[in-house]
Structure formats: C-alpha cells, structure tokens
Symmetry: C2
Subunit: 480 residues, 2 copies
Amino acid sequence: MGRLNINNINPHVRAAEYAVRGELAVKSEELRAQLNKGNTSLPFDQVISANIGNPQQLDQKPITFFRQVLSLLENPQLLEKEDVLVNGLGYKTDVIERAKWLLKHCGSVGAYSASSGVSAIKESIAKFLERRDGFSANPANIYLSAGASSGVNTLLHILSESNKSGVLVPIPQYPLYTATLSVLDATCVPYYLDESKAWGTDLEAIRASYEKAKSEGVDVRCIVIINPGNPTGASLSEADVRAVIDFASKEKLVIMADEVYQTNVFIGQFHSFKGVLRKLQQENPGKYDDVELASLHSVSKGMVGECGHRGGYFELVGFDPEVEATIYKFVSIMLCAPVIGQCLVELMVNPPQPGEPSFELYDKEYNAIANGLRERANALHKAFEQMEGVECGEPQGAMYLFPTITLPQKAIEAASAEGRKADEFYCMRLLEATGVCVVPGSGFGQREGTLHFRTTFLAPGTEWVSRITKFHQEFMDKYR
Amino acid sequence: MGRLNINNINPHVRAAEYAVRGELAVKSEELRAQLNKGNTSLPFDQVISANIGNPQQLDQKPITFFRQVLSLLENPQLLEKEDVLVNGLGYKTDVIERAKWLLKHCGSVGAYSASSGVSAIKESIAKFLERRDGFSANPANIYLSAGASSGVNTLLHILSESNKSGVLVPIPQYPLYTATLSVLDATCVPYYLDESKAWGTDLEAIRASYEKAKSEGVDVRCIVIINPGNPTGASLSEADVRAVIDFASKEKLVIMADEVYQTNVFIGQFHSFKGVLRKLQQENPGKYDDVELASLHSVSKGMVGECGHRGGYFELVGFDPEVEATIYKFVSIMLCAPVIGQCLVELMVNPPQPGEPSFELYDKEYNAIANGLRERANALHKAFEQMEGVECGEPQGAMYLFPTITLPQKAIEAASAEGRKADEFYCMRLLEATGVCVVPGSGFGQREGTLHFRTTFLAPGTEWVSRITKFHQEFMDKYR
C-alpha cells in the first residue's frame, strides 16, 4: 500500500462533481473505441457526443481567416515568402498584415507573455468592448485566460476567504461553478432559474436564497450569472440584467457574468452586464459606482468554436487596486495563458471588416455557422415537441436545449433498483441504445421532483435526432 | 467601497509569494516601456530579462520542424496544396505526414481533447519514456497538462488533505511550489540543498527536515525534487536519485520529480526518477513496489523552449486507481490542456530521426541551441569568477546560474534603511544601473545569512555580462 488512497487525499477535490465529463462521457468513449475496433454488434454505428459544447469535434469548421493567421504565427518563416502565400495559397494581404502585427507585439508565440496577457491584445479587447457597449474599457483591467474556465477559477479563488464565503450560483448551472467552489471549500448558494419564464432570472428566488444563506451565517459575496444560459440557453432581457445589478449593488455582491455565449442568441439580443451597468451609472450618478463586475468571454463558443485553443479573457470593473494586484500575482504563478490562444482572442474581437480582403469569406463562413446552429436547434426542438412527456421551450441561445422529461413510475423504480437517479438511468439507456450521449439534468441541478437532460445541437444532420425519438418511444412503452 | 479588499479576500492567495514575476519584473517592464517611448535618459538602451527562463523572448529561435507541423495543424487547408508546400515553401514530406497523423488523432486542434489528453499523443509519450529509460510505460498513466506548472498544481491539490499535509520542498526552489502550497493552505517542509556539493541533495538534511516536521505534527506525504535544479542548475547523480527513492520508500512519501530541464545537462548525464526506480525494483524484487512517483516534463525548456505554448505532461507510477480517477476528474473541470501544446509535446518526444527528410536541419538547429546555451553559461560563469565577493560553481544544467554574493556591511545597512532584503536591494540597483533583471535568492529561499541571485544565461552576446561586472565593481566600491 502506497501513501495515497481515496480516503486520505484532498476531501474537497474528492467531493467535487463534474457531470459533463462523468460516467456517461467515459462510457461513450468506450463505445466509440469499440466501434473503431470494428465491433458491429452495437445497435448504432456512430457515437454522437451531444454532452459537450465541442463544436469542432462535430460539424463546425474553423473560420479560414483565423486559422490562416495562426498558421503564420506558428511558422513566421512563411512570411518571407509572401508571393507563395498570396499566389500559391490564396492568403489575403490582411491575413499577412495581421500576423505581422501580432508577431510584432508578442515576439514569438513560443515565448511567455506578461502574466495578464499581451498588452496589444488587451488593447484590442478594450476597443471591442467599447464598440460593443458604447462605453470605454481600460486594457489594464483585462486579463487573458486559458478559456473562461481558468478565469472563473481565478476569480473564485480570490473571492473565497473561508468556508463561510458564499457564491450565488444559478440552478441549473454549468458545473464548473459548483465543482470549483467544492474544491475551494467555499459555500455554493443555489438560486433557481424560472423554467416557466424561459429560464429567466427570478429576483424573488435570488433574494430568498440570499436571505436564507445569510441567516445561516454564510458571508454571501458574489452572484454568478450565465447569460446566455448554460445549460438552459436562456437569453436575459435588459430588465433582468438591470434587476440583478441593482440587487448586487444593494447587497454589495460581486457580479460574475459568464458571457461566453454572447454571440449565440436566437431570440432578442444580448445585453452585456458591463453595458447595462454603465447605463445605470449614467442614469443614476453616484448610485452604482461601487459595483464590482467581472465579465468573462472566450474563443470556445459562438461561431469561433475554438475550445481546444483555450483562449479567453475577463474584464474587471470597480475592483480595488490591491485586489487586482493579488489577481495579477495569482495568475503569475501559472505564468501566462497560452499565447496562440491569446492571439485567437485578438482575431475574435477584431475580425475582418467590410471592404477588407478577407471579409467576404469570413462573413459567409460566420453566417453559415450561425444559420446551421439555428436550424439544428429548431429541428431538435420540433422533435422534442412531439415526444411524449417531453417539454422544451423555444431555442433561445447558447448551444443547448434542456428539456423537461416526465418518466413513468416504473422507470423511476427501475432506476432506483440500479442505484441511479432517474434522469441518469434514462440517459444511460439512451446512450446504450442510440450512441447519443447527453447529460442528465441532475449534473447541472434541477428542482426536486423534476427531470431534464441537456443536449447540444451541434451534431450535423437529423438522423441522430430520429434515433432519440425512436428510443424515447420504446423507453416509454417499456416502462409505461 | 465595494465588497472586496486586500483584507477580506482569500488569505492564502494573499500570502503566496512568487518572486520570478514580482516587483523587480514589474519594474523591468516599466523600464522597457520607457525605452520604447524613446526615453534616452536611462543608463542603458535595452532591458535584459534574465529573471525568467523564457528562451524565445531572447535569442532562441523555434525549431523549424516543430513550427512547420504546427502551421499545418492550424491551417489544415494547406494540406490540400502539397505541391506548393513542398516546392514553394520547402516543407519536407515528414512534416506533412506528421501533421496528417496528428490531425487524424486529434480531429481539430480547435476541439477539446479527452481530459487527460489525446490518446495517440499519450502513446507517443509512453514510447519515448520506454526509449529513454529502457522500461515500459503505460499511456493510461500519462496526463497532458498546460505546461508542467499545471501538472504541479493538480498533484499538490490532490495531495493536500488538510493544513497538516506537508510537502518536502528543496531550498532554494522554484517558487511555484511554495506559492501553490500557500494557496492550498498546506505545509511546506523546506530542506536545504548542499551548496558545498554543487547543490546536490543531502539526505541528512532531508531526513532532519522530515523528522522535525513530523515531530511538529505535520503529516509529511510528498518530496519534491527538481532535477536538473531550478534555480541551482544542479544535475543529480544516480546515487543521489537512488538515495531519495530509498528514503521516500521507507517513509511512504510520494515523489514528485520535476524534470523539465532533463535535456539541459552540461556535466554528467540526466538520471530520470522513473528509470532509477525501475532499476531499483528490478534489483530488489518486491521492495520498491509501493513507491508512488509523479514525474513531470514540458515543452517550455530544453532546446524546445516553447513555453508560450503551455504544453507538458506528467506520468504516474504506483498510484492507487481511485486516486488516479480523482486526478482525472480534477483535470476534467478545466476540460483539457491546450491541444496545439499537446501536439508540440508529441513532436518533442518524437522528433525527426536520422535518415528522415527533416532530420538534418532539426539536428543542426538542436545542437546549435545546446552549444549556444553552454557557451553563454561558461562566459557568464567566467565573469562571475572574476567578480569580488561572488562565488559560483561550474554550470551544470538547466538555464540558470545561482551565485553566492557577499556584500559589504554598508550595503546591508543601506538595504535595511530602504526596508529591503540585501539581495533585493542589490538586484534593484543592478536593474536600475544596467537594465539587467535577475531574481534575488530570497525569492527561492536560501540559508540564513547567505545571499544569492539567479540569472538565466539565455540572453545573446556578452555585452550585458560586462554591464553586470562594471555595475558590481561600482556597487562594491560605493559600499565598501
């Protein structure tokens, strides 16, 4: 017997749960491996990973402009052969110029950057935020990160003073939040989103959770908002955003706005917390000056879909300079975010503009991805509408649908006999029968007595959707 | 006043120290910015960042084979124009084949990989370890990470059960270890390296630290070894490695072997902990079967020097399967290491072989970097030998020299009057006078009453070395 075993390692790591890559995901990889080895005894010939927002694993092609620039950053020797690039490979002049500009500012993508990121890239992000929100942004308050996940990890580390430090987290939520709070031994204060109102924020629910936690001695210091929502896809109205800021201001809560799906919006439009906060400050001089906001974005989602590159950033507003200095020190320990990922952030926030050589293709590719996502979301939604015991709101945003399922009592009993939650049981049977991997609602949290699953709508075609419908009918018939 | 201030954030993050990017580094960036803005009033015209092992920020050029492959991974459309690649751009066929192979196995570098890394890359690493050590390696026990730093972070997270959990850390050490243990609120148990024996491990010193900590109620569970050493450059003998393994085995300590400088060895040869452990196991059947070893490597150092890509891995030996499953879950929360960095790990462990088209250039570039490092280390060492009050052993490995400095009493008093440690004072004056940024020994830990600084030998030329010698003479004259 060696030193470490499951009972003497870090109990907070042991307790953390992360369902997106849990048992079902592991099982789906086993099934994929069996198929690759030529196993023909399975009832499907392809595994569909609808459990994870991983666009380029499925249908989504990278955007040509981005990848052309990155190829030059990786091999700057190519810049010595501009004629071959232009005439032989069809690289446009703006691709070459952008690569030269990025190389000038980061030196080599193989060198560490400053801990908070390449300065020129932070300036590009600030300009993007100014264009997006109509309010100024300061590059000094922007931190590049390895995807938004790493930014969330940093911010939750800083916030957590003790195990009494509490963070309001929406339920259902992306489990990064609960898992990280568990590792930090801080307190997750769940608040329920309102399924009856398209999974919007419900201020009464937030207030009730906050008051209850406070009465139990929790030092609630932050509220997390995921907008557009994961797993719900919900896109918040400006009124909802205003209400949250107002509440956070009154109760002195840091707002952590996870806005990685900001370009994946089908209904209405995206309202950034930063933009709405600045409006509130303008309308009510002095009143909202103390609000502390951290907003996060990444290259992983949207039409960019470059999650393997681990690029992202967060912007801080209203943070104490000594706290920012501590954040800087903390990110320094890991040296810097991947530099090629930082460059991709720059390309995302500063894409080709009308009239520039690469614009036409960029625009075409971008719109094709956006339209494809919308079409597939609608097709999936339509299928869900026709399934017995399944209810699902209209697709609003992000990359997910999160239907409610009502299962027969016999199915619930069969799950229980297997020691599983009913939604886990359903999802496991779905995977085994169809090769489609989704995540049970219990992995994100859901109201007691309700059952859901989350599926991405990234996989191409509709054949896999009909596999789900067929399975569902058989499942219902079996346990009715 | 908002919510967060320096007194109510995470006290363990607040307490962490990370000198490599501390006050001196910040000051050096300010000076660099002043020079870039045309300030001509400074006594130097260039800032030399000798504080950080960042090869490509200084002289080191990336290896062509690596970057050609990466350019194809970033833009796979180039593979449709093989004739242009070969005839127009001079890409060899093995570059193209490797890119195709990697793309086949990771799909797109923009997609998340499995949490522990791309399977085929883990298999390549295992084969490399088998060639290096002469003993088999299991891909299932290999985890890709965002540089070795992220691997260290993962392992220390898992190890730390409570604030009584102790980790033996060499002094001087790379401050990642103390900083991470501070953040985790675990106990750092320092043991001194033996400067009189070229900074080797001193088993008596290790044992004494271990016994003292144990007697104070610390649950010592791990020993960290950095070999070759950072900041010392020391390269351990096989006997030293054997002695550490034997001690760890007796006391049931997990061994964490930070071997990121394994190819930067000037004297003798590198002895991997894995290889020596397997030999010990072979020689003493049954005796060392329980030893738990985690060994780490990265693309950041050596002749690769691609730290901006944040690629690395660790291999586990003898870990309990449930503990490994918890490690897998923990790394899943951050999804995966940067995929392009994973591909670079594959290229590092599986470079062109004699007879292959890219071998000649690869070999030439690799050797030129190795020779350049050795030459500059020797030049710097020679300069140190001639400086009054400076003692420095022969360069052995890594990218650093770590000389002892003996400063006049008046200098120590002047430092104290400024509220600084004497080595910090010296390094700050050096930076202001010469633009050369080094790290004071206190940033790594040193025996009470001794003073050191760490400098990389990465910067090109020798002019900057003479700046140091001149400054040193003037400093000594001033405070004599």
